[in-house]
Symmetry: C3
Subunit: 322 residues, 3 copies
């Protein structure tokens, strides 16, 4: 694997290898180890973190993981506002120049669908041996988020096959939903229940993909009726910044508050082993009163993100088969 | 000491240890040493510098010190504007996620009073062994600034006890004044003279603290009358960005220009050994014509900042008693 | 050489040494080497990258080169908007404080002409052994850009002497044109043809300098008539951000589109060995249809930038004669 652009790229076998590597990363670099002197796994390699949209969480996850591995990092927070993007440069020109500075990896976040694929094409044409990782492009994909979501589920249940995943909130605008649905399609006997206001329903491309891959799926708009069925509750916030119509955004926010917010009283509807995930940031759609419940798994999930990204960086740069 | 949140946390004994360590840092990493290969004191450790308010000086001081010590750093300049703060995330969620990325230290700058304490509580609850350093929270505290101020005074006089410190300028809005006053309260036989327009007088909480700790204090509004008494002149700028009323801010600026600005002609009022300090940035409240005088000690003070912060990072991470 | 402030500082002999060092950097750190463990050339040294104007390209070029060499880096993207510059601090105060944090190099980008010289003066007065590199100051200079331009020409032709360089586009506002013209004046038997709308003609100071150094020069406004004469075509974009009058900026943009844009059909006018350079970013003034031509040399030129900057960092810090 040269670039990570879409969550569909992985085979189940490749995912298993990646998850095992993530475990190893956690054991090696996780809580309170004697880390001194161990940061040599990727010493001498360079990451460019190019974020056209700010995402402190994703950027820190990649950069912290890179630093734990001994990589060097050069990064920008807001390439769109402060860089030559203002001066009218194309993404293609920018990436071509970046590739010339001999990074081993370019981690790209961009507001346009398909940006990561365009970047990878430019890198390949340039002749530089550099890996492109899609850290979210528009409403397109956010594959490393999907990888960490799936890793979290897998490590909790010991498998992914046969689980029922409830995906709720803003299914129309969140790229994490797309990436995760595509990834879950790799596994057999899955069921996905989509729960959202009809105005924020999941895209037809996803449903088609799931049909093609034999994933059973339903769309409902009543959250409480389906909570008891879920093995995994995957909840998302309203992506107001991707909704142009402000009146509509306001209306949806009210609707989310009223009918698509997980509160303490919903916990009794869940099975005992069910886990609640959220790609973060949250804006009230899971009440903080839920946090103390052991099934509130979203902080653990966020933590997993770094180890999965470390596993990915290591596997790509060391050219391990995935 | 697990976290540095308030300047009051230190005992005089602990301060002495910290100052000695800062001396050691200066000797090891200061001007023109053969530094090559020495950056191993904290190799393999990671700092997260999370600045919700930009402060290039404080951030560079921490990050340069960290790099001299061999630490890795991941940082953000403006977490408030460009991060998930825009998307409505709470500080608590953000810090909890940061802690999961296994940094050894989080250096936090935040516009709200008490933010550092909230962050430390979240880190402790998360079970991650991570130190939180308050790099300024709202009008609350800026304890590392106070530590470097006190270190500078101590190294100049060989002691802090018994000195008369004149603190002037905007005493109502500057957190450095609060932190330093609290710290000076640790030492015996201190006298603090506060000089400011009555509208920018020092807060009642500080005066109460000083009373409780037996620090003699006065409030005056005529700068020239008290300059001759000072061993240390600690001058501050008007914190216009913390004053909501623009008319009032303008009026205060005029007043500072007229009556609370240190100029060359004031130098003859000072004792020969007196030092002039300023937490920076300055905006004219000490005229540049003062800079050439050996008593203009503020650049030396700023330089000390890095060594004190290095001493603090080293002591916290190596769990030295303070 | 203590600081790099202006392209004129170099002798031809010094340039030759720098270019040889850049070659060495490319061989050592360029495409697909086994770089692991080699990043020790400047281990233990620190760069401050202080950008008052964003320039992702220039900053990444410096920082990537520094990281390849094993340097530590602390950087800011937008010192003007987010730092104490907002609070009214002078450049002199800022740089003096930076110098105190013991960086080995300060790379400065600033919107005002002469900022780099002011910074160097402050550093020298401070007594700190720190090198200042001008990464572009206002309409003043951008000497490392000129160095990489000249290096690119030299490595293509094996010499610079005797070449005809066509410089076109916005000659009034682009600092790269100034820096390169000054540098080319070092070489004998040069000819420079300036091609631009009369309203964007090259400055009198440059023409005077060229006269003094015996460089033949012409000014024309018809691009096509002079393309066949050029050994090097150096094309630049309209610096709209430096033009206050928006109507005039619009008019110039239209003019550039109509008459000062290099398109595929112009390629047949060029000699076979001619190379087309551009300091980037471009905004349409070289059509992308030109990119596939082997004479389109601008991406190669951008790549050279990092190696030249690495050579400069290494030579300054190691105090090699230049």
């Amino acid at each position: 694997m040269q670039h990570l652009l879409r969550s569909q790229q992985f085979s189940v076998e490749g995912l298993t290898k990646l998850y095992d590597m993530a475990d190893r990363m956690r054991v090696t670099f996780g809580r309170k180890p004697d880390r001194q002197g161990m940061r040599t796994f990727l010493a001498g390699t360079l990451m460019h973190a190019i974020f056209y949209e700010a995402s402190t969480r994703t950027r820190f996850s990649f950069e912290s993981g890179a630093q734990h591995l001994g990589m060097s990092v050069v990064s920008t927070d807001n390439a769109a506002q402060f860089s030559s993007a203002v001066k009218g440069e194309t993404l293609e020109d920018s990436i071509r120049v970046h590739a010339g500075y001999a990074p081993d990896v370019i981690v790209l976040r961009h507001p346009e669908d398909g940006a990561a694929e365009r970047a990878a094409a430019v890198v390949d044409a340039s002749g530089h041996a550099c890996h492109v990782i899609n850290a979210g492009d528009g409403r397109g994909q956010h594959p490393t988020q999907a990888l960490l979501d799936a890793y979290t589920i897998d490590r909790h249940y010991g498998r992914i096959e046969g689980l029922t995943v409830l995906m709720g909130g803003d299914l129309a605008n969140g790229r994490t939903v797309r990436s995760l649905a595509y990834l879950l399609g790799k596994y057999s006997e899955m069921r996905i229940i989509f729960v959202s206001p009809p105005q924020l329903a999941v895209g037809a491309d996803i449903l088609e993909y799931l049909d093609r891959h034999g994933v059973r799926h339903d769309q409902v708009s009543d959250m409480e009726s389906v909570l008891p069925e879920a093995d995994v509750v995957y909840w998302t916030r309203l992506q107001v910044e991707r909704i142009a119509d402000r009146g509509f955004a306001h209306e949806m926010r009210e609707l989310q508050r009223a009918s698509f917010t997980i509160r303490a009283r919903h916990l009794r509807l869940l099975k005992e082993r069910t886990i609640i995930l959220h790609p973060f940031p949250r804006k009230g759609e899971i009440a903080t009163e839920v946090d103390a419940d052991p099934r509130a798994y979203y902080f653990h999930q966020a933590e997993n993100g770094m180890y999965v990204r470390m596993a990915l960086l290591f596997s790509l740069i060391k050219e391990l088969p995935l």
